[in-house]
Symmetry: C2
Subunit: 464 residues, 2 copies
């Protein structure tokens, strides 16, 4: 008995189709004959057409097939409820993870910006200007990114980062992991070892590890990457953060940069320069890029808008040396941009109209103030019990305790007091430890209170 | 002699810093002494502070170091102009690829939509509603995607695609390649062979190939994937397009779906169901998903907004079985969304307010009309010289010539007549050939003219 509700919003033929389908699954066997469309129509007071449409959908999906004399038979016995295979791990584990809703009083996350620092009004205004009929939402955006945006990025890089490049060398991507993924893909055939700083940012290593590269960790000293150890590693490809080493903050001086470029030239090597937050430098001018010193096309340059504009935009970029462009173009996914067209266009005009310029100055001043305030407070409150490991740039100050210290207690007490703290080890996956005290997401007037609470916890954790 | 321009916008200390830096690179050797700051100040009529700031930047970057009696010496001989290594391939090939600006009269691209079909006004209105202070541009968006959007996608999938899932199972991604990349990463440890349809979509294979999977191509027959051949392949992971096979258009009937699900259950297998354009079905209702038939959590379901809303938005989604969620959460880049926050929010409200629903009906009707018109015209103009390989859904009709045919001439004449045509082989990388005649990007009133020109070319290419 099929239940057909004439008052339902669902069309009658769909109701009938569903009822018959369930009936077939539960009660029919292969080659069983279905009632004729005429019979169903008269039985349920439906038009013959309604029944025919339902039967034809069942036929399209392969439940039934038509036979001579317009009869329909079931194609096969449909039993989807197989006994479960017990060896399939976790199979029936339904995960009910309620969303983590823990609210922190203060969060020292080292890679976020103050909510109010995003130029919301200007962004909105530009968006409304660019979203018109000139944008083609019917097409895939250009693989490398919109040319106009690439021009703006290249101008910015020329001027602010001393990067030597044309717009043609810029590929717009949706963040660091995606950028690194592309590089891993295009270099796979020619490079097999990925050298990375130790300590260094773990995400880069993970991307290359996933693509089957052997990972070599090269030690960091006061001059940044140790080039002698790099030579010993046999790697021909190295990932570095020369202008603000992650996580130590070491700046690679000119003579070590020169040595590294010479290594690349002698060894047919390639250098991936990650310039992640170099606009944010507070005690000197930003350090000109390594790429700009390179006369032999050995440097792939990576940048992002996440640290100075907004991580919520998901826009990054790669500058490829000219000789890698053919490899990029051969890459199977080169034609496919990850970044929504309208985001690209908005950013393009944001840069073109000078807002990016002004924003950079604003965001640098804002974060410099917060940096200096946090540094002052940390020195005041923790004094000689603390050693500053990394300061003067970016969105965090890294510190370590000088006396013996109960790290577990620090974690426990921070959670209890609703203070979220971060540890360098979690970002580097190595042995190098420090507390990474982010100020980017805190307002100036919150920093004092946050450090007050933090310093009380800190003092309890000192063991000597 | 340094050139300092007092009228320039560039601060004096930066001009001086640049001049001295170039001087050091060109003319200085290790341990050479620099003129005192006092001397430079008086020589160029600059304040002593200006000179000190320039020197201090040079010191930060490692060009000079300070010695007793406030003298500065050069740290090292800086010579960046190494002789180029001749074995570095393509090194000095500067690629000057002028942007391809060729304009086609008609473009039969099979994966685009009519420009005017995008709901620009509504999108703009919703964007302006959602972009306010409730959005935090200072933070990375939630890795899985915004929960509200995931709820809307799950409701849509439940209702329209008979997919059984909760919002927690939805991961929002930035397109097919990215979605497949995530799956390749999380399954890498447990699966090593990737089975794919033959003919089938080449991009899926490429992603898995890049992650080191062995690729097994499984033949397609009139029931879709040949399950017996799948069994022989020893693969435990298979990628399929069951509702509209790419590129043949074959619909996998219920008994083959059942066989496939039984295979997955018996073999601890997993099925990746790509539902890429199943909303666009013109001769019957959309076919309910394979995922919805599966009672044993064997199906990973992929969908996209590129085929029905806009490829320029770059939004896709994955539905993971519950037992794979822990693997996803362990994945190193699980915390990092690729999709801009404001795009997610706009789409969420677009769906929530019923626009997606209305848009789907509109876009289906629009493309159905164009599909039927193109089919009618192809039959009229090419008649018995043509065999239709794939029709009734999506954004293209695939055809093959019945008589002997000069394919090269077709390419040549199409280009000459500014008609862009597409070949199935280019999307499948295999032997299966057809002309893929996309109508998605053409307006209804353009189709007749486009097919007129095309049919004239076609006739010239017939060899018998």
């Amino acid at each position: 008995m099929y239940i057909i509700d004439e008052k339902s919003k669902t069309p009658l033929y769909i109701q009938l189709y569903n009822e018959i389908k369930n009936d077939i699954i539960k009660n029919y066997k292969k080659s069983d004959k279905l009632p004729s469309t005429r019979k169903i129509a008269s039985l349920y007071n439906l038009s013959k057409n309604t029944v025919k449409t339902a039967y034809s959908q069942l036929e399209v999906e392969g439940y039934i097939k038509s036979c001579p004399q317009s009869a329909f038979v079931v194609t096969d016995t449909i039993n989807l409820n197989f006994s479960k295979n017990p060896s399939f791990k976790n199979l029936s584990t339904i995960i009910n993870t309620p969303k983590e809703t823990k609210k922190y009083l203060y969060n020292f996350f080292p890679a976020c910006l103050e909510k109010d620092s995003f130029p919301l009004k200007i962004w909105k205004k530009i968006f409304n200007k660019v979203i018109d009929n000139s944008l083609d939402f019917g097409k895939y955006p250009c693989g490398e990114g919109e040319f106009g945006l690439r021009v703006e990025i290249s101008k910015y890089l020329n001027h602010y980062r001393a990067v030597k490049c044309d717009a043609e060398q810029i590929i717009v991507y949706s963040g660091f992991v995606d950028s690194m993924g592309l590089i891993a893909r295009i270099l796979k055939k020619d490079y097999h070892i990925f050298a990375s700083e130790n300590p260094g940012y773990y995400l880069g290593q993970q991307v290359f590890d996933d693509y089957g590269y052997k990972i070599e960790k090269i030690s960091i000293d006061k001059n940044g990457l140790n080039i002698d150890n790099l030579k010993k590693s046999n790697a021909k490809l190295v990932y570095i953060t020369p202008s603000h080493q992650y996580p130590t903050g070491v700046l690679m001086p000119i003579n070590n940069r020169q040595k590294l470029l010479k290594w690349a030239n002698d060894e047919n090597g390639l250098i991936i320069e990650d310039d992640y937050d170099s606009e944010l430098r507070y005690s000197s001018r930003p350090i000109p890029s390594l790429q700009g010193l390179d006369l032999n096309d050995r440097v792939i340059f990576l940048g992002t808008f996440s640290k100075s504009l907004s991580p919520a935009l998901r826009i990054s970029y790669i500058v490829l040396p000219n000789h890698l462009l053919p490899l990029y173009k051969k890459c199977f996914d080169a034609g496919i941009s990850r970044v929504p067209l309208v985001m690209q266009k908005t950013l393009e005009y944001f840069m073109k109209e000078g807002h990016w310029d002004r924003h950079l100055r604003k965001i640098r001043t804002l974060n410099q103030k917060k940096h200096n305030l946090m540094k002052k407070l940390l020195i005041e409150k923790l004094g000689s019990t603390m050693k500053i490991e990394n300061q003067g740039g970016g969105l965090a100050i890294s510190i370590n305790p000088k006396p013996k210290f109960d790290w577990d207690l620090l974690k426990e007490l921070s959670e209890k007091n609703k203070i979220k703290v971060y540890f360098a080890k979690n970002f580097t996956g190595g042995e190098w430890q420090a507390l990474v005290m982010g100020f980017g997401g805190l307002k100036e007037n919150e920093i004092e209170d946050a450090i007050n609470i933090f310093s009380k916890i800190w003092k309890i954790c000192i063991l000597e």
